[in-house]
């Protein structure tokens, strides 16, 4: 299934923060995890991922550090910050409001049982 690009761009940062909420990851790991968890719906290009990650770091939503990965090679890991968690919660609420509104419209509007 493919999704509209605009809808995706707006929510990618939310998805990345959600991944990092579970555990610290490096870039390649994130792309793999996202693709796995979404049944290959979200296949992010590295060229999209890194500018986004670096922007999130700039905004202090994530922080990074160097660590040896399971392959023994040094990798740049990203971790979500407290500020990032707050941002994620806000984004999640906005998203839920948005999707429930869309669902309501698709179902044919709100019903009032009187």
């Amino acid at each position: 299934m493919t999704m509209d690009k605009n809808l995706l761009t707006g929510s990618t940062s939310m998805l990345l923060l959600k991944l990092l909420e579970e555990k610290d990851m490096y870039g390649y790991m994130m792309i793999e995890e996202l693709s796995k968890k979404s049944d290959n719906t979200f296949v992010l290009k590295a060229g999209t991922l890194y500018p986004l990650l670096h922007t999130l770091e700039e905004k202090e939503f994530v922080t990074s550090y160097e660590k040896n990965s399971h392959t023994g090679r040094q990798r740049k890991y990203y971790a979500i910050t407290k500020k990032g968690k707050q941002h994620l919660n806000e984004k999640r609420e906005q998203w839920q409001q948005y999707t429930s509104a869309v669902n309501n419209v698709l179902k044919g509007g709100m019903t009032f049982a009187y």
């Binding site: 490096y26 870039g27 390649y28 290009k45 590295a46 060229g47 999209t48 890194y50 500018p51 670096h54 922007t55 770091e57 700039e58 202090e60 922080t63 990074s64 160097e66 660590k67 040896n68 090679r73 040094q74 990798r75 740049k76």
Partner: protein
């Protein structure tokens, strides 16, 4: 194969104008391409083809580079520069005002010239990559100690045929202010070097202390050593040496307390301490004046004249020697509490802003370098303000950076400030090098009746 990767990375970096970010971006993207290539190779794709596919997966290099260019911009802390300009201007205006009272003349060209030279030095240090402090720590330290030594021996002059070292007055105390920044490089260089590293860091403090102590104690020297001890304590807590924290802190603090006690036993220091703490019959003339200055200060405007023990009343600068060290007392006397508190509030806002930006540093090197400058500025200014109150003993008032004092010292403060701006400019692109995760072996170990001292040995975690 590697050329393809290099070509891709070069194209990305060509779009990023901020050169300091290149290394960081290149490494991360290269790692990604290698991971992706290995994943394709594991699926049975030939190596050459796997690389091509991995690069294609990355996306358009020009687009990636352009997006990263928007993220990475050098950050100039203009507000900090404005703070410093403000203090410098207030300092000069005050010098003009006070000198017109005392000498009826304008501040010397030297003072104004030193600001311009200082600004030039600041711009130079701002553009120097501060990571050289860590990359060339030993070289920088060696040059620093040699410079201190040369100044020390050059300032010797013979009295009755014997050389007398008058190191302090003209040259050496300013140089000691650079020590915390140089020391940060040494601390960083010693990361992961266990108890041997701790001892070498402690030993590195000795030559600059020796070159700076003239009459048994030198106030600036004492406070700078305190800054270094604080920096070292932070490094221990950050596990830079991979050693047991409690025992290492004892290793650091016991000799320092011992040295402090030893210095306090010096006859000149003991005499000064006696007068400063007990002060029988107001023997300390300057303390007496400063205390009376506070008592007679008004809320806004000129305070009461200073009452001398003889009962005679005189203006502050008729009884106090003119020196930029006494600027806070002068503001209080001629401007009142409101002006003094306003000035101090702005100054502490400046220090708080430096602390906030230092804490935001991603790399430990950036954090510690910024902290070394922050602590130096803070300790000097707090000591000066406390000394100006007259309610605390003093040896030497020191100065509030950028505000009191001109000349060489001024240029030196701009040097430190330039380094600080360099940290804030490029700090987001600095990544600490990994050090070994292994912890140090105990410092002392008894084995078969012999004592083994482990300086640089680490535990073999594989066991």
């Amino acid at each position: 194969m590697l050329t393809d990767i290099k070509k891709y990375l070069d194209t990305v970096c060509q779009q990023i104008r901020f050169q300091n970010a290149h290394k960081l971006v290149q490494k991360e993207l290269e790692d990604h391409i290698i991971d992706q290539t290995e994943a394709f190779a594991a699926e049975g794709i030939a190596q050459k083809e796997a690389v091509k596919k991995a690069i294609a997966q990355m996306g358009d290099p020009v687009l990636v580079g352009t997006q990263l260019d928007r993220v990475y911009r050098p950050k100039t802390q203009w507000h900090l520069i404005l703070f410093v300009l403000f203090f410098s201007i207030v300092g000069i205006v005050l010098q003009y005002f006070l000198q017109s009272i005392v000498y009826e003349q304008m501040p010397g060209v030297k003072t104004i010239l030193s600001i311009f030279i200082g600004m030039g030095v600041m711009i130079l240090f701002y553009h120097i990559d501060f990571t050289i402090l860590a990359d060339h720590a030993v070289k920088i330290y060696t040059v620093y100690v040699i410079a201190m030594g040369v100044v020390f021996f050059l300032s010797a002059f013979p009295v009755n045929g014997y050389p007398v070292y008058i190191n302090g007055v003209a040259h050496v105390p300013p140089l000691i202010y650079l020590f915390p920044v140089v020391f940060t490089g040494i601390l960083y260089h010693m990361r992961g070097k266990c108890y041997g590293g701790v001892l070498l860091c402690m030993a590195s403090m000795i030559p600059p202390i020796l070159f700076s102590s003239n009459i048994g104690i030198n106030t600036a020297c004492v406070w700078i050593i305190l800054v270094n001890i604080l920096l070292m304590t932070m490094a221990i807590f950050k596990n830079w040496f991979a050693v047991k924290k409690a025992s290492t802190l004892l290793m650091l603090y016991i000799p320092m307390l011992f040295l402090g006690g030893f210095a306090a036993m010096h006859p000149a220091v003991r005499r000064r301490l006696h007068v400063a703490i007990i002060d029988p019959n107001n023997l300390d003339y300057i303390r007496y004046i400063l205390q009376n200055n506070i008592k007679g200060a008004s809320l806004l405007g000129r305070g009461e004249a200073i009452m001398l023990p003889s009962g005679k009343k005189l203006d502050l600068l008729n009884v106090l020697p003119y020196s930029t060290e006494f600027f806070p007392a002068c503001i209080l006397h001629y401007g009142g509490w409101v002006l003094l508190i306003l000035f101090l509030a702005v100054y502490f806002l400046f220090l708080a802003r430096i602390f906030y930006l230092a804490k935001k540093q991603k790399s430990q090197l950036g954090f510690m370098t910024a902290m070394s400058v922050f602590l130096t500025f803070s300790i000097l200014s707090i000591w000066n303000i406390i000394s100006n109150s007259g309610f605390f003993f003093y040896f030497n008032f020191l100065e509030i950076p950028f505000f009191s004092h001109g000349g060489t010292l001024y240029i030196l403060f701009f040097m430190l400030f330039g380094t600080l701006l360099s940290v804030f400019r490029t700090g987001s692109c600095v990544q600490d090098n990994l050090i070994t995760q292994k912890t140090a072996l105990p410092f002392f170990q008894f084995e078969n009746g012999t004592i083994i001292i482990h300086l640089f040995s680490k535990k073999d975690n594989a066991k």
